[in-house]
Every structure is written in C-alpha cells, then in structure tokens.
C-alpha cells in the first residue's frame, strides 16, 4: 500500500459536553475516493472543518503529504494543496464566476501583492480559469455574478475553484446537496474521472453516488468512526447496518 | 496622607466606573438584544442632564429633576427607536454607525437650539451636600459616595430584572433567538422599544447624576460615550457582567493612572516634565489596556458565546 496523502490520528473536538469528534483516525490514499458517511449530526462537517483548518481541533494530529498541518490556518493548508468545497456554497457573490475562479488561479501562481497589472486583461489568469469553467460545464455562464447563478451552478463553480488550485487532495462537503438527479449523475461521473488526478475525501448523503464512487468508506456515528472498508465490506458490516443503514432503511 | 489620597482616588475611580456602567449597560443590552450599535447613546445622556437641570431650576427640586431625566431620556429613546432605530436592525454596522452619527448631529444641534450654547448648572441636593471622613485622615464628598451606592443598586436591580422577571426572560430569549420568541407570540417590536427606552433611561439617569458634578452642556455625552464603548469592548459586547467588570477596570485604571503616573515618573525625571509626560501617558492608558486585552481576547473578557 502506498503512503497516505492525508493521515488523521485520534482527532478530538468537543463543544461543551458534546463530543463532536471523538478520537477519529482516517487515511486518504492516492488515486482513491474515500467517502465519509453517517447520519445527520454525526460530526461529518465538523471533521471537514478541522481538516480544512476553519475549526481548531482540541487534540490529535493531521498530517498532509507527510507534514503536520495542525498549526496552519486555512489559507496555508490551501496553499499546500488541500482544496475544499463548502456544504453551503461560499463564493465572492459580487464577482463573476470567472473572477471567482481567477482568484484561485492567482493564489496558485503565488503572490497576491501585485498592485498594477490589471487582472481584467491578464491572460495568465483568465485562460486557466476559463479552462476550469469549461471542464465543469459552466463556460457559458462565466460572466454572470455568482449571486445570480442557480444553486446547481454554484455547486459547479465551487468545484471549478477547487480544481483551479491544482490541489493534491480534495475535501468535498456534500457537493451534490440540493442538486437534481440529472446533475447529480453528471457530477458523479465527473468526480469518477477525477480520482486518478486527485484523491478526495467526500462527505455525501446521496448513497447512489457514494456506492458508485467510493474506493473506501468510513462510517461516522456520534463523532466516532465505527467502520472503514470497501463498499462491500461496509454493506455487510453488521454494526453499520444496525447503527446507520438500519435507521435509513 | 498618601493613604487618604489613594483611597480618595480609588473612590473617584469607582464613581467613574459606576457612571460608565450605567452608560455601558444600556449600550451592551441594545447590542445584545437588537444587534445595534448606537452612537447616539451619548446624546441620551446629555438629554437626561438637560432635563434634570431644567426641571430642577424650575421647581427647585433635584429629585423631581432626576425623575424628569429618566422620563425625558426614556421618552426620547422610545421616540427615536420608533422613528429611526427600528429601521436599522436589519442593516449592516456601517449603516447603523452612519444613521446614529446623524442622530448625534441632530440631537446636539437641536439641544443647542433649545438650550443655547451656554452651560447650565445643577446643584447637589442639600441632603447629599457635605463630606464624610475617610480612614487615614481625608474627607470624601457625600454625593459621590451616593452615586457609587446608586450605581451598585442599579447593577443589582438590572441583574434581578434580567434573571428573575418575565421581561428579563424575554430579553434573554431575544438575545439568543429572535425568530423563536416572535413565533411564541411575544410582540417583538414592543420588546425592542422597551429595551431601547430602558437603555436610554439608564444613560439619562447617568447624565443627570453627573450633571451635578460638572456643567451641563452640549457635547458632554461624547467623551463618556467613547469610554463606554471601551468598556463594552473590554467586557465583551452583549454581556452585562462584562460591562460591569469593564466599567470598573476603565474607571479605576483611568483615575489611578492620572494620579499615579506623574508621581511614578517623577522618580526618574524632573517634576515639571514628569507632570506633563505623566498626564499625556495617563490619558492614553485605558486605550493601551484595551488594546492589550483585545490582543489576547479579541472578543473581550466575557464574550457571549455565539
């Protein structure tokens, strides 16, 4: 087995008496889609926030590409190559779709402390950003302000921004949430093709997508991972059936 | 002798702290419940002082003046809440700052129009004139002691109001979940007007009390307002307890700084120089304290959990 890209060990986070993350350990391997599933309130988003750096863990370690990133803020983790999408779309609302992506290209290229060259005519920003929009099928809407995009388009834009960072790993927090069945199917096949390029940790409620995509699945219940394995292993795990699928069925 | 002076200054610090608490309690309550930053709070302080001075001059009774200050500040508070402030609850902080800044201009110039530019004077009521002996051989103004006592009583009263009464329950509910209490059938806009008027009354009351120590004039509320902002920032915006602790810190640090810094500096430099440098540094002291506190606790000492 190759070295994991992302290595989480014994992560803990409490909100007063509530143990939102209770000793989670998890590995993300190259070329894989690792799905994180669990009932509502299991602490999936809290976990993603801690990995991305928008929430500080109480204890435990997060190693990314062999480096301990626990002390880094969100921006520093993103620069290392950890890209995320948000459960609820989080965009620069007044900027066009294109400029939202250009921001990510600009970050990847290095310094944002350039004060004179105009971005509106900067091909080195526009061309790669446009290419990303084309990849997710949003090129026709490039010049529409993010605030005026439809819900599904915003989700696509989030993915385009994450792609533009040329990351080493993705953290996707319910990328299909609120999408229609057709768009979900398209996104599923898109993510399927992406796994060899970039591994991803995927939080998703759409079980069809999870079972179609995941190389490995971890099941999170009340802040603890109760099982990790392949799709078949998870399907047949009695504890998972009891704790999770049993409820859902 | 030094002990007596020290005790006197400490009491002065407490008295300033108590005044600041009366201002800050209203500000922090209004922010906590309605999410509003109200720059015009200092104008309500001024209105209280003017009302007290005018009524006291007309009737000869400071006590009637005090009642008038409460009524006037609460009345004007309720009026501007209904006319202007309630349109600002859903706006961003910038709009709130600007609109309440505009209210200051209107209320200050309005007060000049009505009362003229000359200061009014308010006498300390006869029952509270005189001084009491201090341990160590000094004397302390009875009126200032009374202010401290009144401030402590108001703090206790506010605590009881908020923790024990039905209105207090609604205020606390309003802080945590606006929509929920509206859904439960509480008339939210009346609640907001009441809270605003309550904060205004506290500010007007403070203005009236201080009016007997200083002159009553337009603009008197502004330095106090800014100190009250420092208080609530130190204490944690939205927290009454924070306002109390912050007010005491600011009152005592400011007063003791002005008292002690020049003497401390005099140990290392000529007296005249020590006095000027000491005074300059002392005037900055509370802001330094605030910056230090915020550098370590960016949401103040008793930040409401959100």
């Amino acid at each position: 087995m190759p070295e994991p890209i992302l290595e989480i060990r014994d992560l803990r986070k409490s909100f007063n008496a509530l143990k939102a993350t209770d000793g989670v350990s998890l590995d993300l391997y190259p070329g894989q889609i690792h799905a994180l599933i669990g009932p509502n309130g299991a602490g999936k988003s809290t976990l993603i926030h801690q990995i991305a750096g928008s929430l500080a863990a109480d204890s435990g370690t997060i190693r990314f590409l062999g480096q301990d990133i626990g002390g880094l803020d969100m921006a520093a983790r993103a620069r290392l190559g950890l890209a995320r999408s948000f459960q609820i779309s989080s965009l620069a609302q007044e900027f066009s779709a294109l400029r939202n992506v250009m921001l990510a290209v600009q970050s990847r290229q290095g310094s944002s402390f350039r004060f004179f060259r105009q971005v509106a005519s900067d091909r080195s920003l526009i061309d790669p950003a446009m290419a990303m929009l084309e990849r997710v099928g949003l090129a026709a809407r490039a010049h529409v302000p993010a605030a005026e995009l439809s819900h599904g388009e915003r989700r696509q834009l989030e993915i385009a921004i994450a792609l533009a960072l040329s990351p080493k790993a993705f953290l996707f927090d319910e990328p299909m949430a609120g999408m229609g069945p057709e768009s979900s199917k398209q996104l599923t096949s898109f993510l399927d093709g992406l796994r060899h390029e970039t591994p991803m940790l995927l939080v998703e409620h759409d079980m069809d997508a999870v079972f179609a995509l995941a190389d490995r699945i971890s099941v999170l219940v009340y802040g603890r991972i109760i099982a990790t394995g392949t799709v078949d292993e998870i399907r047949s795990d009695p504890e998972v059936r009891r704790a999770y699928l049993g409820e859902a069925a | 002798m030094f002990t007596a002076l020290l005790i006197e200054q400490l009491l002065n610090g407490l008295q300033l702290g108590v005044m600041l608490f009366l201002m800050a309690a209203g500000l922090t309550l209004i922010f906590g419940v309605m999410g509003l930053i109200n720059l015009a709070h200092g104008s309500l302080y001024m209105i209280g002082a003017f009302a007290c001075a005018t009524v006291a001059a007309a009737t000869g009774s400071f006590w009637l003046g005090l009642i008038a200050s409460l009524a006037a500040a609460a009345g004007v508070g309720a009026l501007i809440e209904v006319a202007v402030i309630r349109r600002l609850y859903d706006r961003d902080h910038l709009d709130q700052v600007l609109a309440t800044f505009a209210l200051i201009l209107i209320l200050s110039e309005g007060a000049r129009w009505v009362f003229g530019s000359f200061p009014l004077y308010l006498d300390i009521p006869p029952q509270l004139q005189g001084a009491v002996p201090l341990p160590g051989g000094g004397q302390y103004q009875l009126y200032r002691l009374a202010i401290i006592a009144v401030g402590i009583a108001v703090a206790a009263g506010l605590y009881l109001l908020i923790s024990k009464t039905r209105l207090g329950m609604r205020i606390r509910a309003g802080e945590s979940d606006r929509e929920m209490i509206a859904a439960l059938g509480v008339d939210i806009s009346t609640l907001y007007t009441v809270v605003f008027a309550l904060g205004a009354a506290l500010a007007g009351f403070a203005g009236a009390l201080v009016g007997a120590l200083q002159s009553v004039q337009v603009g008197m509320g502004e330095p106090v307002l800014i100190l009250a902002f420092v208080v609530i920032v130190i204490g944690g915006i939205g927290s009454i307890k924070g306002a109390l602790v912050g007010a005491m810190i600011v009152g005592v640090v400011d007063t003791m700084g002005r008292f002690l810094l020049p003497s401390l500096l005099a140990l290392t430099m000529p007296a005249a120089q020590a006095t000027t440098i000491g005074a300059a540094l002392a005037s900055m002291l509370i802001y330094v304290v605030m910056a230090l506190i915020l550098a370590f606790r960016p949401s103040g000492l008793f930040a409401a959990q959100s």
Partner: protein, 323 residues
C-alpha cells in the same frame, strides 16, 4: 464609456473649472473652498480603499489625517524657529519632504494599529479603531510641546519647488494633481490582483482563505495603504488652513470621512470626490443660512442612509456596482 465614467469625468472637470473661473473673477475664497473639497476627497479616498474595497469600517482614520497634519505643522515649526527636531535633524518647509514624511509616519503608525485591530471583526473593529484614534487625540491634547489643545500655526505656507504655494490657485492645482494621481492609483489597485483579493475579502473572507489567500495580510496592507493616503491629505489640509489642531484627530473627523464616502457612493472611484463636493457645498450654503447647519446635515445623512443607499453616484449612474 460607461455612464459612471462620464459622470466621473464631468465631476473632475467641474472641480477643476470652478476655481479657475473663481480665480479669473478675483474670488480667491472659492479657490480655497475648492481646495478644501480636493483635500477632503483625498482623505476619504484613502478610507475608501479600506472601507469601500475591503469592507473595513475604520472609525479611526482621523488618526492618520491628524498625523499627516501634525507632521506638516511640526516640521514647519521647527524650521521656522530654526530648532533641530531630534539629533540635529532640522525642520523643513519643503512640501515634498513633508509629504513623504507624512505618508511614511501614517503608514508606520497604521501598521501596529492594523495588526491589533484586524484580530477583531465587525463591531469590535469599528470600536477598536475608534479607540486608537481617541488615544492619539488625547495624547495630542495633553502633550504641551506642540500646542496641546491650542494646536500649532504654520505662519507661512510650506513651499514646493517651482510653485508659488502662497497663492490659492497654484496650491489648488498642486492638491488637485495629487488627488487625480491618487485616483488613478486607486483605479489601478482596484483592478490588480491585490484589488481582486481585497474585494473578495470584503465579500467573503472564508472563500478567500479557502483558495489559499489569508485575508488578514490583504486587509493589513490595505489598511496601511489607506492610512498613508489619508495621512497625505492631512499634510495638505494643514497647509491649506496654515493650522493644525487636535480636532483633526477627533472622532467627528473620522465620522465625517465615512460620511463623505457614503454621500458620494461607497466603493466607487469618485464617491469621495462627489461626497466632498456635496459636503462642502452643504457646509457653505447651509452654514451661510444658519449656524445650526449640522442639524440639517444630520437630517440629510439620515435620509440617505435610510432611503438612498448608493449615494449620489448610485443615484446618478443608476445601477449597483458589479465587478
């Protein structure tokens, strides 16, 4: 050319033509009035960088305005009295040196203030910037070396090589040139990578961090740049009035700078210019009618905040800004 660009050009021409005409008609007072517009517009342009582009509601920009003013006043006083400043460095009456010093000092003071203030957000940021400005205000009042409460007079307006600054019109033209150059700079910065990041920080700081750009650094640089421009304006203001006093540091001044931006249109290039024109007109026209003109200023401001949120340029150009 968009409608807003046309309006901007017209405003610039109007601002230039009025004092030229006034000087031609022998009315130097109006030239001074126009210079006041220019200097206030410059100060507010500084704030507009932080507030309009970056969304940083600084309620303490008077600190930088006053610092710039005091740099001019203090350097000129030392030169006038022929006393060295410190360590044998003499004062000066040379505007280029004064301007440079004002800009550098404002930036140096803004750096620690920004580092501390930017740890906070929202209402705390408003309050803490206000408090820092008050701190400097009280220091200026209680420090007697440079006039304390009484302020400092500049007996003869400082000099610029090749320009007779003691005449109203040349001084106006110098200030106007500075303003136009700054506006050009503002436009360039707005369209640059830095400007993109800054505007994104205002719209959604979390999004900016998620693509790997720390909003703190962007905001800090914007805050310092913004203070430098406002400090520059302070130095010009001191020479305009030939006087500096603690009121330049007052929180009313900070409030007025915000008001200028809002009157004209927040985040718009010429918002501060339009705002300063309206403000000085009101001050002059209403002030001529009644001593209590601020009462009416308050009413107008209240009306704008409650009912016309785009400011004058928002009304004239008729559509919200979109990047």
């Amino acid at each position: 050319m968009t409608r807003e660009t046309t309006i901007n050009l017209l405003l610039a021409l109007l601002l230039l033509a009025m004092p030229l005409a006034a000087a031609g008609l022998g009315e130097p007072f109006y030239v001074t009035l126009a210079t006041r517009v220019v200097v206030l517009a410059l100060a507010a342009t500084g704030l507009n960088l932080a507030l309009g582009l970056g969304g940083l509601i600084s309620f303490g920009h008077a600190a930088f305005f006053g610092l710039g003013g005091y740099v001019a006043g203090i350097l000129a006083t030392h030169a006038f009295n022929a006393e060295p400043l410190v360590a044998g460095i003499p004062g000066t009456t040379s505007m280029p040196i004064i301007w440079l010093t004002a800009v550098v000092i404002a930036g140096l003071v803004a750096l620690p203030i920004g580092i501390i203030s930017l740890r906070t957000t929202g209402i705390y940021f408003i309050m803490i910037t206000l408090a820092f400005a008050q701190m400097i205000y009280y220091f200026a009042i209680s420090w007697p070396a440079y006039g304390g409460e009484d302020g400092l007079s500049i007996y003869v307006r400082n000099a610029f090589p090749g320009i007779n600054t003691t005449q109203p019109l040349p001084y106006f033209l110098a200030c106007f040139t500075v303003l136009m150059a700054t506006l050009l700079l503002f436009r360039l910065v707005e369209g640059s990578r830095f400007g993109s990041a800054l505007q994104a920080a205002r719209q959604n700081g979390t999004r900016l961090a998620a693509v790997g750009i720390a909003p703190f650094n962007i905001w800090l640089v914007a805050f310092v740049l913004s203070a430098m421009i406002t400090g520059f304006a302070g130095a010009l203001y001191a020479d305009l009035n030939r006087f500096v006093g603690p009121s330049m540091f007052s929180w009313h001044m900070s409030g007025e700078l915000i008001v200028l931006i809002i009157l004209g249109g927040k985040g718009r290039l010429f918002g501060p210019v339009a705002g300063a024109m309206i403000f000085v007109c009101l001050e002059y026209v209403l002030g001529g009618i009644t001593e209590r003109w601020q009462f009416f200023l308050g009413l107008i401001l209240l009306g704008i905040v409650l009912f016309a949120r785009g400011g004058l340029l928002g009304l004239l150009s008729g559509k919200p800004r979109h990047a």
